[in-house]
Symmetry: C2
Subunit: 190 residues, 2 copies
């Protein structure tokens, strides 16, 4: 069964963006992580986004600046199938994009079933929170950055109940980040 | 120079206590961590607390239940010098305790200077936040627990500005926790 994966940078205090909504504090100069992800991750066939991250990505990765910034990511993101969850978005012009109005179990099941590989969610805080609440995430791949932001937006809060996890891997990198891979413990496994 | 260390459990989403103020989610059945801490940590001569944690600890560790729960911690905590920072507390009856009204650079400097070893802060969220803001913490030893609490009290927020850290160590344990050791980057090192 293909998986729904979350990949995000977080601060040491669990924040996803700083008090200005910025993510400039995340250490993105990490060749080591890029190589590690390339080698260790299974095939990703679909990228899933909320509206905000989709629009940000669609305005950057297909452009010459995006291609120059990271040719590998620019290529895989542009060529991959993209699903953007939004009730308000009318058009999604980045190639291979479809809009889905509802991030529920039915839609996720349909996307998952029609895939040749795993689905990856980048950024998209609201979508991550919603799918976490619905128990629809199979694995979290979080890059813990060596910074206490002290204020900003939590990746998960608020959730009506806690989610127990199993640690799959922790891997430190030279730039001080730590990749943490977790899977939720399903009810029967607790 | 003796250090001021913070040692705390945090959830994967950076929370220090859950929405009921509880810490029952933290995995404390960790012999591996206890052994590791015993062997790797330098001499601790003083424990520093905020009022809430001090009162909780003073009501448990010197009792038979506390001694039965973890004889090692009961002994080192009871025998160690204890400083509780509080403006309102009138008495601190647990042996070797002193009350300090102000958690500022002068007091911390005095405590640090009169020590034979390092100072360790357990729990004490408000104290940790205040000393972090004042740049008076030398090292954070955080045990990252495999749980998304989703709501509760952040260990650090709100802080008026972010604190950049250097990762000293990350060590996973069999129970799914990860010990993360960080030191703040002082201004000159950034």
């Amino acid at each position: 069964m293909h998986k729904i994966l979350v990949f995000n940078n977080v601060s040491m205090d669990g924040l996803f963006s700083d008090s200005d909504g910025g993510v400039g504090w995340a250490k993105r100069d990490n060749e080591e992580l890029t190589e590690y992800v390339k080698q260790s991750r299974g095939d990703i066939s679909t990228y899933m986004f909320g509206k905000t991250t989709y629009q940000m990505f669609a305005g950057f990765w297909p452009t010459p600046a995006g291609k120059a910034a990271n040719p590998y990511f620019a290529k895989i993101l542009t060529e991959g199938r993209k699903v953007v969850f939004s009730k308000s978005l009318k058009r999604a012009d980045w190639e291979n994009s479809v809009i889905e109005p509802k991030a529920d179990a039915t839609t996720i099941g349909r996307v998952r079933k029609s895939n040749n590989g795993d689905c990856l969610i980048f950024g998209s805080g609201t979508l991550v929170r919603d799918l976490t609440e619905k128990g629809l995430i199979d694995e979290y791949q979080l890059v813990l950055n060596p910074v206490i932001l002290g204020s900003g937006r939590p990746l998960f809060s608020p959730l009506p109940k806690s989610v127990e996890l199993q640690l799959l891997e922790s891997k430190p990198f030279k730039n001080g980040t730590v990749l943490l891979r977790y899977q939720p413990l399903k009810l029967g496994e607790r």
